[in-house]
Symmetry: C2
Subunit: 325 residues, 2 copies
């Protein structure tokens, strides 16, 4: 994997032209604090498992500076939210970079838009949950409070591709000090195309007469920069989603090689909840859900944690830089 | 307002080519039942206030048939959710056509993505709400349960422009039997452009090489069909959102005339929570929020309910068909 100055230059240009992230200083402070608290672990059998950055949900591409319209990438955030729960259970500290409004850890069971349907008031105005949901709601509140109170979960929201990539850069450079103990689990659906901020319409595009024509630029391949510059020692897992099964595995292999990922998880839109293929340098492994009651993410995160532990115990010369070539 | 055969033909072509609505029969049944239960009201001082169809949130335009990418219209759904609460309070039955995941009535106070932050478990594992939020959460649960249990609220979700327009057509034709007692409060942010289903990419668009070019068609002007064909006697309120204040009122006046609306509510993205202008055939009226604690929708819905009552008591010859010309 040779350095590619053109990708680096494109990435720099992208960040230079992006609208600055709001609350950047505040985010940086809580991030550095979080990473520092979890940097002491040994990664050994008894010590903490490590820190995983999970990205989740889709990014938007604004079409207007005062944004009324945007292009969006479909992703419920189910994969990222479920995986956050299982990585926390396995002892990981989790930085959850998520799309605003996407699925959240410990809330996945809630029927969409019907949060209030879960509750009723008792005779003394106390809040009650119908018997049918009582156990799951209580377990969720308890697990969530534990993760927050013990400082194991940091949630960072994004909406646009500009916010997402700036957050990813901040988290990755901050996690660099963790070396092999860091993991990236890049499940967010990131836009391939965008409209550069400076060339964007300032006001709402008028429907006026006739069809609308748009030209979109390619988003720089940031996975490459993440691996090469921001966090070169981390264990990197990216996701490939396609609707056409005929090109899926081939595209996953390409991503593995091109970006030096440790694992590319290939999934198809039609059945991503039931089966995925983990593509690595040592081969492919199919992971299937064994029953409707089981989350695929339970197996997936277990396998990844195991591979990450092996990665973290490798001597330096054996790290990804070798097997990515 | 003369009939325009070309708009009607465009609308027909749009519906013919749209992917069919899922659960259409089930939705039709609950809709007809809801309207029938509320059709008996007199509209007089003591009787029910009427039925209002509120549309809320933004529509998406899929760019691929197996949808990974789509264009979206920004709208939190705040306006529609708040107005639903106030119309219910005023005695209206409400059909709430809303974007999945947008703001819901009685849930507006919840910090985004932090529903679980509202709750904790007591010593006996009972669900508690911190003192600071207790009153508001309890009032919300109580008001929501009342609306549902008394059959005053019907929630119908959509995501795409195809789903939205099919739902609107079903609701409008079903509400036609209510005559003047029906109201439409069209706050949804509806796409002006779309990709016709049959010309849409079947699979995910590949990022391959170079920029992406897209051509989008105009969505037929359904407000015109709503007014002319689906529910000609209803009281119709539409919304106009612009980012450029210089063209806002002019565009609102145009919509009033062109589509025969009774009211067009003009709002600017920069301050839509603080001030709107109601544009009608008898002039303009500015509605401003009097304090940070007040919802603008409280005043807005009161004024509209008053105008609707006047509309409902008009003799037939005085209906919109006259003043829309």
């Amino acid at each position: 994997m040779a350095a590619d100055p053109s990708i680096a230059a494109e990435a720099e240009a992208f960040f230079r032209a992006a609208p600055p992230l709001r609350d950047r200083d505040h985010i940086a402070a809580s991030l550095d604090d979080f990473v520092a608290r979890h940097s002491a672990g040994s990664g050994g059998a008894g010590g903490p498992a490590g820190v995983v950055c999970i990205t989740s949900g889709g990014t938007t591409v604004p079409l207007e500076q005062r944004c009324v319209r945007y292009i969006d990438n479909f992703s419920s955030g189910q994969r990222g939210a479920a995986s956050t729960e299982y990585f926390l259970k396995a002892g990981y500290a989790v930085i959850f970079i998520h799309r605003r409004g996407s699925k959240q850890p410990y809330c996945r069971f809630i029927p969409e838009d019907s949060f209030l349907d879960l509750f009723e008031l008792g005779e003394d105005s106390e809040i009650q949950v119908p018997q049918s949901h009582s156990a799951v709601v209580k377990t969720s509140i308890s697990n969530y409070r534990k993760a927050i109170d013990e400082g194991m979960l940091l949630k960072l929201p994004f909406t646009t591709i500009f916010e997402y990539l700036q957050l990813l850069q901040m988290v990755a450079t901050s996690m660099n000090c963790l070396g092999h103990r860091g993991m990236f689990f890049l499940a967010a659906a990131v836009s391939d195309f965008y409209v550069p901020w400076e060339s964007m319409a300032k006001h709402k595009i008028q429907s006026a007469v006739g069809p609308l024509n748009m030209q979109l630029n390619q988003v720089p391949k940031m996975l490459f920069i993440l691996r090469k510059k921001w966090a070169p020692l981390a264990f990197c897992v990216s996701f490939k989603l396609e609707t056409d099964p005929n090109i899926l595995l081939q595209k996953a292999e390409m991503a593995l090689k091109k970006y030096g990922m440790d694992v590319v998880v290939a999934n198809e839109l039609a059945n991503y909840k039931d089966v995925v293929v983990m593509v690595t340098n040592s081969g492919r492994m199919t992971v299937s859900r064994r029953s409707k009651e089981e989350d695929l993410e339970e197996q997936l995160t277990k396998l990844l944690a195991k591979m990450h532990a092996e990665h973290a115990s490798l001597p330096k010369s054996e790290d990804h830089q070798t097997h990515a070539n």
